[in-house]
């Protein structure tokens, strides 16, 4: 296992310590239970946004805490949903009296733990709503699965909904907006290499030198199909088409196109993917009006990419463009 870490069991703690020293202007860290809150939390009268999930997806979620985005993030162990006590304490720490929105990625563990936390928080008199993100078209959504995973759309939702909360919208408005985003965004990912969970010490899956996994999630889980590596343009097509067909995105739609790196893929490759993705979108009459390119929702050191498309309208565009000041995303301030 080749990692710049000390002991596997200290990875999350030491990362939090690093974030604490690096960004005192943006966030405060609470240990045991672990959570990250905005430096100025709680913000009186503002709906607070709490998200969380396993660690190993950095900058998500901790890197998205700050003005214009999340109020708190709860990091679990690597790839392991955090626990209800973390979420409860984070919820209490950021509640500014206008209620708290939980942004939950659709994994059995995350959903169960956040539900328990929401029940506990409601028991303490806090107004809590939860929104589940499930944008991954690689997973067939049916009665016979845990449903679709929450992946790249989470980042876009946290930014846009964060701006709406900052604007002073109500908990109901903010939650409805989040659900609207979930209904308008789709993602699909692929991997060239597996990642290695520090505790496991070896790659989660073995992938021969000439093969790739299509339809992976963000936890190093194998995808739905394995095949020979293809040129970037073909791979982009294999990710874009299921996204376009699923919603479906239609001619005339305006979208935000997000080309994400899985952690081990350099930026130079993401621009090559972006170029082709825009070409494919345009061929279908879809207009790319906003973009995000980079490693924002990662899977440790996995090499690979995911693409997310979100249908935009003037409200979403305005909220996307609104100032944000976090360690992971920043503009306008």
């Amino acid at each position: 296992m080749k990692k710049l870490i000390n002991k596997p069991e200290d990875v999350v703690l030491e990362e939090l310590q690093g974030i604490e020293i690096a960004h005192p202007d943006l966030v405060k860290i609470h240990y045991d239970p672990n959570f990250i809150v905005r430096a100025d939390a709680p913000v009186k009268g503002k709906v607070a946004l709490v998200s969380g999930g396993g660690s190993g997806h950095e900058p998500m979620h901790g890197g998205f805490v700050g003005k214009g985005m999340l109020d708190a993030a709860c990091p679990g162990a690597v790839f392991t949903s955090p626990t209800p006590d973390q979420m409860l304490e984070a919820t209490k720490a950021v509640d500014g009296g206008a209620g708290v929105l939980h942004i939950v990625k659709n994994y059995t563990g995350d959903v169960m733990n956040f539900e328990m936390a929401a029940d506990l928080a409601k028991g303490e008199g806090i107004d809590v709503e939860a929104v589940v993100v499930d944008d991954d078209v690689a997973v067939k959504d049916s009665l016979y699965t845990a449903g679709r995973r929450g992946v790249g759309l989470t980042v876009l939702m946290e930014k846009i909904v964060g701006a709406a909360a900052e604007e002073g919208r109500s908990l109901k408005e903010v939650a409805d907006l989040a659900r609207k985003i979930n209904s308008q965004g789709r993602s699909m990912g692929m991997a060239l290499t597996s990642c290695t969970v520090p505790h496991a010490g070896k790659p989660t899956f073995d992938l021969p030198e000439d093969e790739m996994e299509i339809g992976i999630g963000i936890h190093g889980e194998p995808g739905r199909t394995r095949m020979k590596i293809k040129p970037a343009d073909e791979i982009t097509e294999m990710l874009m088409m299921p996204i376009i067909e699923d919603l479906p995105f239609k001619s005339g739609d305006e979208v935000l196109l997000f080309v994400n790196g899985m952690g081990g893929t350099p930026l130079i490759e993401l621009y090559i993917i972006y170029r082709k993705a825009v070409e494919i979108a345009e061929k279908h009459g879809i207009k790319v009006v906003r973009k995000l390119i980079g490693p924002y929702i990662t899977s440790l050191e996995m090499a690979g990419t995911s693409i997310t498309m979100l249908k935009m309208d003037s409200d979403l565009i305005k909220l996307w463009d609104a100032p944000v000041k976090t360690a992971g995303l920043r503009w306008g301030i």
Binding site: T80, Y107, M112, A146, V197, A200, H219, E221
Partner: protein, 211 residues
């Protein structure tokens, strides 16, 4: 034979050791159809549990179980955390105030535990989860407690039933949890949660029937 709170403590401590020994095995199983953390998750949880046990060793068995459940809830995370937490909290509710367990107490406690897991996770037998190991074990215990089988014998029978249930997950296509994302590719591999559940019952049989 009855089981007292010392026996319960011993079972939990031994299970912690069993998990430590099987950490890599459970993680390997989870690597194939999940996210490679089930061993580390269970290990983190039961390491925390054993540090809590001295504080509750003189309490009633229900309290011990609920302390275990609360500890797991705040240390395990993932799907396994709430599910194993529910197992212990539901069983603990059924065992409130008890300083000793009979076979039927044990059978009914595990039945409540399994029902709690099914309520929370909405998995049925055949979905390739821990429910596949627990359900036949519970049924065996309930049957045994009715037909007068000895507690010792029942413990072994329930471990055997859990083992068969665990092995029955191998050919299944997962319909719950992370493995369901794999679709058909999940078939051919044993479920990690069913494995840790089997080990829990196996440890009870081993620890409680040592003469």
């Amino acid at each position: 034979m009855t089981i007292n709170n010392d026996d319960v403590i011993k079972w939990l401590q031994t299970y912690d050791q069993v998990i430590t020994e099987n950490k890599d095995y459970l993680t390997d199983l989870d690597s194939i159809i999940g996210d490679a953390d089930h061993g580390a998750n269970m290990h983190r949880g039961f390491q925390a549990v054993v540090t809590k046990l001295p504080g509750v060793q003189d309490k009633d068995i229900g309290s011990i179980f609920k302390t275990v459940g609360m500890t797991l809830l705040s240390t395990v995370g993932g799907a396994g955390g709430p599910l194993y937490s529910t197992l212990f909290i539901q069983a603990g509710n059924r065992l409130n105030g008890k300083m000793e367990l009979t076979l039927s107490d044990w059978a009914e406690a595990l039945e409540a535990a399994n029902n709690g897991i099914i309520r929370l996770g909405k998995a049925a037998v055949g979905d390739k989860t821990m429910v596949d190991a627990l359900t036949p074990a519970v049924q065996t215990l309930l049957d045994a407690s009715k037909d007068g089988t000895s507690f010792e014998e029942a413990l072994h029978l329930s471990a055997d039933a859990a083992k068969k249930g665990m092995e029955s997950t191998i050919p299944l296509v997962a319909r719950k949890g992370r493995a369901s994302y794999l679709g058909e590719r999940s078939a051919g591999h044993q479920d990690p949660g069913a494995t840790s559940s089997y080990l829990l019952l196996k440890t009870a049989a081993d620890v409680w029937t040592k003469e």
